[in-house]
């Protein structure tokens, strides 16, 4: 096997996982974890300069290169945050050394699985990778072994497995549709072959396949009404995992869905996937926006916010067209960066306060100004206020929708405003007012959080033309 960017993003996490599984000691392993994610990020960046020729198993094009860079970047910053966070968990005895070793190994396995799902050209391989990512996150969600953590992991496992099973059925149906045209064997599962010849596939089979894939991978995206696992899994696992779930795993599942959407778009007789995605997207947005009001757990609050934003992104891709796709891509990038930054802040806040109950925290800007203002900045960004990056992407989604389907745009804006209200209601009691709960000094790593927020801020104020051109190019690919 030749060494290049693609094998790099797969082999480095795989090798690091093996190494971290056997090495003792917290300090060294946390550093190796960071080192491995750094190297993976460098390999991912090299994909901009040169890529291998697509084979029957692996493929890199402009679309997944964007996803890979985003994934490895957030994976890298989260590993930096995780080093401090897990150190604290170890110090207060919530985790024991064997569990930390297990956690680090699993972190790398997860990175491997996510990257594999992104570079897979074979739809069967892509399915295997997403299944692997699900199983590793199930194990990590249950790592604290409390009642709630086990229940959350079990629920996530059952719902995730059902989703993944439906997705496999859809994958088999795609093969069935391709077989008469492409012929038996490996080629009929290779995405780049399928998309070229999808025009001749049986449209009825393709439609049915997409329904299963939408339900299956849609469960992993967290679209309502298939979202039930998401808030529990986010709330009960270690916070770095909440950040990775929200920032990366949901995106990867959506990426799988997009690949199949492109397949359907190549067949004029097949059903248009857009309206289905638009409906699920809007439903998720409005539902999650209302759910924000009754949350009492801070991580659950932001988990619902993730459902809301995945709804917006799915909606944008469902609308399709160059502008909406551009907005969807931008929104996805901004959401990943912002949401993981928020979870970095929330993780430290929960550690200082010793609880995740919103009622037990307050006056954060007084007691922990850096954490408090970081959290405020993150929430302002995620609520879509100017001048931050999410404002721009939401503005693009709304304006492109107004031009094409004003009625849908009204629902969209309604959902956004409801969500804004819900977030600020909660933020107010966390950040301002009388300080509540312990006020010990926080042992926090601020760099990852503020690095993300700076990127989101810069993107809101000034987008480099090269980046705009790149996103436009990728949006064009999505059709």
């Amino acid at each position: 096997m030749t060494v290049n960017g693609v094998t790099g993003v797969l082999l480095i996490p795989a090798f690091a996982a093996g190494l971290l599984a056997v090495l003792p000691g917290y300090r060294a392993t946390a550093r190796i974890n960071v080192l491995a994610t750094t190297l993976t990020l460098l390999c991912a960046l090299s994909l901009f300069f040169g890529r291998p020729v697509p084979g029957p198993y692996l493929l890199v094009d402009d679309l997944n290169a964007t996803f890979i860079v985003l994934t490895t970047f957030v994976g890298f910053t989260t590993s930096v945050f995780s080093a401090t966070y897990i150190g604290h968990e170890l110090a207060i005895g919530r985790l024991t050394p064997p569990f930390v070793r297990f956690y680090h190994a699993m972190y790398q396995v997860l990175m491997f699985a996510l990257n594999l799902a992104l570079v897979a050209n074979n739809i069967g391989l892509m399915w295997v990778a997403i299944e692997l990512a699900t199983l590793t996150t199930v194990l990590m969600v249950g790592i604290y072994r409390t009642h709630e953590a086990l229940e959350a992991a079990w629920k996530y496992f059952i719902l995730g497995s059902v989703g993944i099973a439906l997705a496999l059925f859809g994958t088999i149906l795609v093969y069935m549709a391709a077989r008469p045209v492409v012929g038996e064997g490996l080629d009929a599962m290779v995405w780049s072959v399928l998309v070229k010849r999808a025009g001749a596939f049986d449209p009825a089979l393709l439609d049915l396949a997409f329904i299963f894939l939408l339900l299956g991978y849609g469960t992993k995206v967290g679209l309502a009404p298939l979202h039930a696992w998401l808030p529990d899994a986010h709330a009960e696992g270690p916070t770095p995992i909440s950040a990775v779930l929200s920032g990366l795993l949901l995106n990867v599942a959506l990426y799988a869905l997009l690949r199949f959407k492109m397949l359907l778009a190549a067949n004029p007789a097949a059903l248009a996937p857009g309206p289905l995605m638009v409906t699920l997207g809007l439903l998720s947005l409005v539902f999650a926006a209302f759910m924000l009001y009754r949350r009492r757990d801070i991580k659950r609050l932001f988990a619902y916010s993730s459902i809301e934003h995945m709804g917006i992104i799915t909606f944008a891709f469902g609308m399709g067209g160059p502008l909406a796709n551009f907005a969807g891509l931008l929104h996805m990038t901004m959401h990943s960066l912002t949401k993981s930054a928020i979870f970095f802040a929330v993780g430290h806040v929960a550690q200082v306060k010793g609880t995740q109950r919103i009622a037990d925290m307050g006056g954060l800007t007084e007691t922990h100004p850096l954490l408090g203002w970081g959290l405020i900045l993150g929430v302002v960004a995620i609520a879509g206020l100017p001048p931050l990056g999410i404002f721009m992407s939401e503005f693009l989604v709304v304006s492109s929708t107004f031009a094409r389907a004003p009625l849908l745009a009204i629902v969209l804006v309604f959902g956004l405003l409801v969500a804004l209200g819900g977030l600020f209601l909660r933020l107010n009691s966390i950040a301002f007012g009388e300080p509540r709960g312990p006020t010990d000094k926080a042992h926090a790593s601020y760099v990852p959080m503020f690095a993300h927020l700076t990127l989101v801020f810069v993107a809101g104020v000034y987008m480099p033309p090269a980046l705009v051109a790149w996103f436009q190019n990728v949006a064009g690919l999505l059709g």
Partner: protein, 220 residues
Amino acid sequence: MSTIDFDVAHVLAGSLVLISFLELYQDRLYSLLNVYAAHALVLAASVAWQAFIQDAPHLYVTAMIALVFKAIIIPVALHRMIVKLGIHREIEKVVGVGLAMLAGIGLVALSMVVMLRVTQQAGRLAQEDLAFALSVVLLGLLMMVTRRNAVSQVVGFMSLENGLVLAATGAKGMPLVVEISVAFSILIAFIVIGIFLFRIRERFDTVDMQVIDSFRGEHR
């Protein structure tokens, strides 16, 4: 294709659906596991028959995995676990047997209507196979939602996976990658479940999901 090829495949796939129905109304864990073992056994026979008529020797591997792993090792292991945990009593059901069976019949009818219409170009054998496979998948799902006990939910999930294997082998010439990965993922999934069951016991002294559900955080 000769008629006998089709007939045998049809009988085996049909039996799988029938056994899924049998699973639906078992009210003891031991008998449920026995029925599941029969389910896996029929699956193994069905896959082996497909290997024979499609002249695809690699499918024999899948059949062997179904036979050894799903029909023998898993039921025995679960059996032991049940004895160890002391939970071989009646299974708590969410809905009654009658209602579950009616829902099951409805689901099978649905999958027949949908699959037979959609797969007309796929060939008669593949058409029947896919329709039966979807029925097995949906019945597995039904079982997962009508049971409260963690072990029977796992059994529901495994029979759902059996339906997927049936579909994958019915799709002629589907690359081996997928079959092995399916088998593999079941293995991994099972280990995960095993760990969970163990820990659930350790923490709650029950594997009844309703008790665990009372810890759920809807109110938070």
